[in-house]
């Protein structure tokens, strides 16, 4: 089993000008790795991260869009798997961090911690589907996963993390949205 922050550190080594959509615990761990204007945190409603990512992917087919979604969030928007597969954006990489927990809401378990998201994504019609449980394997494969023609899906099986501090005022600061739009126009 991996740790989310370790996975993100491995991922970050391969990213340059991609847009990263993340929420809740994933956003906290991602932001801890450093500020970047092309981070997209203002999702507004749990589960919509993947839909925002689809909009970005359709709007900017020249840029890679990386969605870091929690398992609880995906469960709130399972239909997005079918929508994304049908829209078939080649530039979308959808990474689901599965720890079986609504971590930001008190670490209660999701209804079925054994749910197989990769199987769902495969059945929905994603172009490439992966599953990672070992950090060494993810580190070795990350560059390949990020370069594949999408939509690409991967489940990252991780442990529950230690309690995080959720600074939502910072994550959802309107200045981040202004900076993101400016960065997208400039890139």
């Amino acid at each position: 089993m991996m740790k989310r922050d370790e996975c993100f550190r491995a991922l970050a080594r391969h990213l340059t000008d991609e847009v990263v959509v993340a929420t809740y615990s994933s956003a906290v761990d991602w932001l801890a790795l450093g500020e970047r204007a092309l981070n997209y945190f203002s999702v507004g409603a749990m589960g919509l991260d993947s839909s925002h990512a689809l909009g970005l992917a359709l709007g900017r087919p020249d840029k890679r869009i990386i969605c870091l979604q929690g398992d609880g969030s995906l469960l709130m928007n399972l239909g997005c798997l079918v929508t994304i597969a049908a829209a078939a954006p080649k530039n979308l990489v959808h990474l689901v961090v599965q720890n079986g927990t609504y971590e930001a809401n008190g670490s209660h378990p999701i209804p079925n911690t054994k749910v197989e998201f990769a199987a769902m994504a495969r059945a929905a019609g994603y172009a490439h589907v992966h599953e990672f449980s070992e950090l060494a394997n993810f580190e070795q494969q990350a560059a390949h996963v990020l370069k594949q023609d999408g939509p690409v899906f991967a489940t990252l099986h991780v442990e529950r993390s230690k309690p995080l501090t959720y600074d939502y005022a910072n994550l959802y600061d309107p200045a981040r949205r202004v900076a993101l739009k400016a960065a997208l126009r400039a890139s």
Binding site: S50, A57, R60, N77, G79
Partner: protein, 180 residues
């Protein structure tokens, strides 16, 4: 009489689907995000699906449209969410967060299934329709009733204003647009 039950020959007041589509195009909308709605199915969604000027994204649940439209707006791409009022009600939390609190230009065209087009939505015999405008008012979302051809002129300025000032807008379709 319910809009969803009106036969083409029964309704003497016209709302041309082609006029609405022309107004949507004139507004610079490129993406249509939709879950089918019987009020707008024949007059809007079918011709839009055949029109190469639009990119139609069929979604599974209406709140997906709010996220997709927001992502597109960051890329300076315009989108119209074409849904039924039931889907609007189901999407209220997404609209609250994305469109209202984050002030994103989310443009919604909402079919009032079961509405009596001879009266106002607030006086609709159907509870679900009756609450739509009060809900929009409570959320601070501007809205316009598109009930007959003369109302089509409201569409383009409403969408332009939503994108210029970055706020949501709801265009309420009060009767079935014609297929011509």
């Amino acid at each position: 009489m319910d809009a969803d039950l009106l036969e083409a020959g029964d309704d003497t007041i016209e709302l041309k689907g082609s006029s609405i589509i022309a107004a949507i195009k004139a507004s610079g909308v490129e993406f249509i995000l939709s879950v089918p709605d019987i009020v707008t199915s024949g007059g809007l969604l079918r011709p839009i699906a055949r029109d190469p000027a639009f990119k139609l994204i069929r979604v599974c649940k209406e709140d997906e449209c709010i996220g997709i439209a927001s992502g597109l707006s960051y890329c300076d791409k315009r989108a119209l969410t074409l849904i039924q009022y039931t889907g609007f009600l189901d999407s209220i939390n997404a609209i609250r967060g994305v469109a209202v609190e984050y002030r994103q230009p989310i443009c919604m065209m909402i079919g009032l299934l079961g509405h009596d087009p001879s009266t106002t939505p607030r006086n609709s015999p159907r509870y679900g329709v009756r609450i739509i405008e009060p809900v929009l008012d409570a959320m601070g979302v501007p809205h316009h009733l598109i009930n007959e051809d003369a109302d089509v002129a409201k569409i383009c300025p409403a969408i332009e204003d939503a994108y210029a000032a970055s706020h949501p807008v709801a265009l309420l379709i009060g009767r079935r647009p014609s297929t011509s």
